[in-house]
Symmetry: C2
Subunit: 218 residues, 2 copies
Amino acid sequence: MLVNINTHRRPVDGHLAALAGERVLCSEHRYRRGTEIFGEDEDAEYVYQITAGAVRTHKLLADGRRQINAFHLPGDMFGFENGSSHRFTAEAIIETSVRIMRRGSIIEATESRTGGTRSLLRLVTQNLQHAEDHMLLLGRKTALERVATFLVEMDARLGQPQLMALPMSRRDIADYLGLTLETVSRALSTLRDQNLLRFEGTTQRRIELLRRKELAQL
Amino acid sequence: MLVNINTHRRPVDGHLAALAGERVLCSEHRYRRGTEIFGEDEDAEYVYQITAGAVRTHKLLADGRRQINAFHLPGDMFGFENGSSHRFTAEAIIETSVRIMRRGSIIEATESRTGGTRSLLRLVTQNLQHAEDHMLLLGRKTALERVATFLVEMDARLGQPQLMALPMSRRDIADYLGLTLETVSRALSTLRDQNLLRFEGTTQRRIELLRRKELAQL
DNA sequence: CGAACCCTTGACTTGAATCAACATAGGTGG
DNA sequence: CCACCTATGTTGATTCAAGTCAAGGGTTCG
């Protein structure tokens, strides 16, 4: 099975047709919040680059326990860190636009441009590095340390904005950090009480980091 | 700094000289149990293949908490999953022999042989896959599930021998699984009491798996 | 032979999970 | 625009899985 056309989560037919042609190497597509972009064990036919929005990738255990491997933000590419078939599920966290490319054409492109798959190798190596750091977090850090690490990571990836607008819910953060959503909420409250951060306005997803250094050295 | 000659953990001068020459592309070296092969943040000058023994790679937090990323067994290569500098420390678990190659020559070799860095890419991708599976374990599995998963993994990698001789201590297993050594010991005792495994003889590192299927479906 | 590990087991503690209640936001349709 | 509903987030009370502390036996190795 190459493509499962009768599900809403696949690129629409028009995009497939375009991608199948010779001229068009990539195509834009939009996903509503909460929709699946690809599933675990599906063929890795396409590679994705986010132009707007945010994506989470996760694995599930049989009884529903979820581990989020990574969050992807605008500019990030994802979907090829895999082998030929996806090893996890990707979902749009919020309304998200992605540029979709055929996997094969990407590999050929990077190969001819750099005289090898080196840039691809670099991307996979970056993913590996992130995974290694995350294993240390999951295996050995306390709840407060995990949440602080998460905030510092997001802050850096968003370019240290004055105000950080997190796209993901407390549950997503929890499943990324190997915690429960209550524990994440409590840790954030603790950090707020220690004046390390501030919630902006009424929605709790807008956070201002007040003392980045102290947060980082947890 | 390319090579820190005055530490015992580096290849001896003879090997360095040989590696520097044109003819010899690789060299054999032996490490006593517990000795460091390379350290975190060192230059990744060499790539290693184990011919006998076992190696662990780990990261440390400032206060000494340790997370073991992976165990390496005979036949395994390690040391280039990194970028140009090592992102963790590698140590011999037991008396270990490794084949040492210059990193550069490996990359060239794989490139010329396969018309690209594809085989290298495959190796890094395998590492990434392992890391992703391990994140699920560390983030979401119970102690018993972690130990069972560990046993099944080792069993498979050792070729499902009738009797499995683990090279690593309970502490190593604990630091790999994000547990304490006591919890690992208790989990093993529980599995023994459930007749899922058996300790062979007096040393507790020889284990016979009695019902692999039931162990695997935890 | 002694010393340093290694492993197991028991008793107790604790950090995070679970269970529960409540507040608020945001989306939908009347 | 409002009323409703669901999803989201916080906080408190309680439980529990794993950690910590402690003791004792066994093995290995210099």
